[in-house]
């Protein structure tokens, strides 16, 4: 392996993969290519804590010193433009070319674009640190912020903007916020928290037209309302970055298609994180694509291991969280696999919904509460899900029965 390992994408996944290669003792060349001007950094704070201070600060995954010490070459501010699979070479936007023995595509995802005319300089998307800087500049007392899309990014930003005194309106086309993957009972708590903080949430109304004159943006809703804002932030989902892989002839299926070991249709090319779809063993091999921080981290490490020949299958249970005001929501598993719900109430108004399949198997757990009140039980539920356990519904629903005791059963 003289050409070494090349990683395209220097986010959570790519950064973790590079570090993992060294942790695993790999001593060949490791090159990490990113199109942003920054060190690999954590994206979750961009819609949360990074907005709280006067200026967002980068939370780097690895410093320049660590990268140097571990002999990881980081090439920033360039894009990979083509993969020559026969020659095992990737061409970059600066005209250079990098050879590889094994290639990892950790190209991530990009915000889904609102397919409408009329967007302008007062319309923003949030993906990168630079996006966060641009948005932060508009978050101040009295400024009007419209959030298009009641998903996690939009709602976390709404909370951050509200904390800074902005006048915030959330516009969601679906009948409720957090339609995708979050039970209605939990979305309701989030909705009420936002309203209590003074955020206006408009659900079930489509956008008819947008006009941005450079000073403000007007959003005309189909129902007749007009929302005028100093800034509109669009958070309507993400799409995997697959262009490079598709051009190279790799199989695409809602993302770059990989097997359980994260290998693409080319045995020397792997893909991991937001950009790939993969079979989830715990749900009978159901093919999913996850846009989640922990998945990016775990798959980066797994891809590193498998590029070195470990042959390990991805076995993790999906998990994600969101922080809004003092509330934290955590979900493990895929709740749409369930057909029955059991509720467990915890202290301080926190609660967890356990989602059970027809045959009694625990397939997901969704929790919400102040601070980290649901964290421990969600983690235990994740372990039960991984074991394909069929815990007694009465035990799940009773606060006096410790979940840990079910794990031993």
């Amino acid at each position: 392996m003289a050409k070494g390992t090349l990683i395209i994408g220097a986010g959570e996944c790519g950064g973790r993969a590079a570090l993992a290669l060294r942790d695993l003792g790999y001593d060949g060349p490791v090159t990490l290519v990113g199109d942003e001007p920054h060190l690999p950094y954590e994206r979750p704070p961009l819609s949360k804590d990074a907005m709280a201070g006067d200026a967002p600060v980068i939370k780097a995954i690895a410093s320049d010193e660590i990268l140097a010490e571990r002999s990881i070459r980081h090439i920033h501010s360039v894009q990979a433009v083509a993969i020559d699979r026969a020659a095992h070479v990737v061409r970059l936007s600066d005209g250079s070319a990098l050879p590889y023995d094994k290639l990892l595509l950790a190209t991530g995802s990009l915000p889904r674009r609102l397919p409408m005319p009329g967007l302008g300089p007062r319309c923003a998307y949030l993906r990168t640190f630079n996006d966060a800087l641009a948005i932060r500049a508009h978050l101040r007392a009295g400024n009007r912020i419209a959030i298009i899309g009641g998903g996690f990014i939009g709602l976390e930003l709404a909370a951050a903007a509200r904390r800074l005194g902005a006048v915030v309106t959330v516009i969601e086309a679906q009948p409720r916020i957090l339609m995708r993957g979050v039970p209605a009972e939990i979305a309701k708590i989030v909705h009420e928290a936002h309203e209590a903080e003074g955020v206006k949430i408009l659900c079930g109304d489509a956008i008819a037209a947008i006009a941005d004159d450079g000073a403000e943006v007007s959003i005309a809703l189909a129902g007749g309302q007009d929302i005028v804002a100093d800034l509109a932030v669009i958070g309507i989902g993400a799409v995997p970055v697959t262009g490079l892989a598709a051009e190279a002839g790799l199989t695409i299926d809602n993302g770059i298609a990989v097997d359980a070991e994260l290998r693409t249709s080319d045995p020397d090319i792997f893909a991991a994180g937001d950009c790939c779809s993969f079979p989830l063993a715990v749900y009978g091999g159901r093919r999913v694509r996850l846009e989640a921080w922990r998945n990016a981290q775990e798959q980066g490490a797994l891809a590193a291991s498998n590029m070195l020949g470990a042959g390990e299958a991805h076995a993790a249970v999906p998990w994600f969280w969101s922080d809004q005001y003092g509330l934290t929501l955590q979900i493990s598993g895929l709740s749409d696999e369930g057909s029955k719900v059991v509720r467990r109430d915890l202290d301080d108004g926190a609660f967890i919904l356990f989602h059970l399949a027809q045959d009694g198997r625990l397939v997901a757990a969704s929790g919400i509460g102040p601070g980290n009140s649901v964290a421990r039980d969600i983690r235990l539920a994740e372990m039960l899900i991984a074991r394909r356990a069929k815990p007694a519904p009465e035990a799940l629903g009773s606060q006096t029965i410790k979940l840990k005791s079910l794990l031993a059963a």
């Binding site: 954590e42 490490a301 421990r376």
Partner: protein, 104 residues
């Protein structure tokens, strides 16, 4: 040598569990291992200052409730992403059913 501080009663913590203890503006986590020994570390995760006492104890590991960073609470050693800085640990002793920790 600093004094030993009483943190809690030995029975206040279940086996294989953790409890938060605040003292003099500082916060600690006190652990009871599955083999019934007691340990103490700094109370906040080295990744994002989250209270570890809300996390899960499994064998000799404490998992941060927020981002699943892991530490060996007996030694303080960081055990995997996203944590890379070790936890500080403190001596613990059991005296007449009380847990004492030495916070230097």
């Amino acid at each position: 040598m600093s004094d030993w501080i009483e943190a809690c009663g030995a029975d206040d913590i279940d086996e294989e569990d953790v409890m938060r203890f605040d003292h003099d503006g500082r916060t600690f986590a006190i652990y009871r291992s599955p083999d019934d020994e007691y340990f103490a570390t700094d109370g906040l995760c080295t990744h994002e200052k989250v209270h570890l006492a809300d996390g899960l104890v499994l064998d000799d590991i404490i998992e941060c409730p927020k981002h699943n960073g892991r530490f060996n609470y007996k030694t303080g050693a960081a055990r995997g992403a996203p944590v890379c800085v070790n936890l500080r640990t403190y001596p613990v002793k059991l005296d007449a059913g009380k847990i004492l920790i030495q916070i230097g």
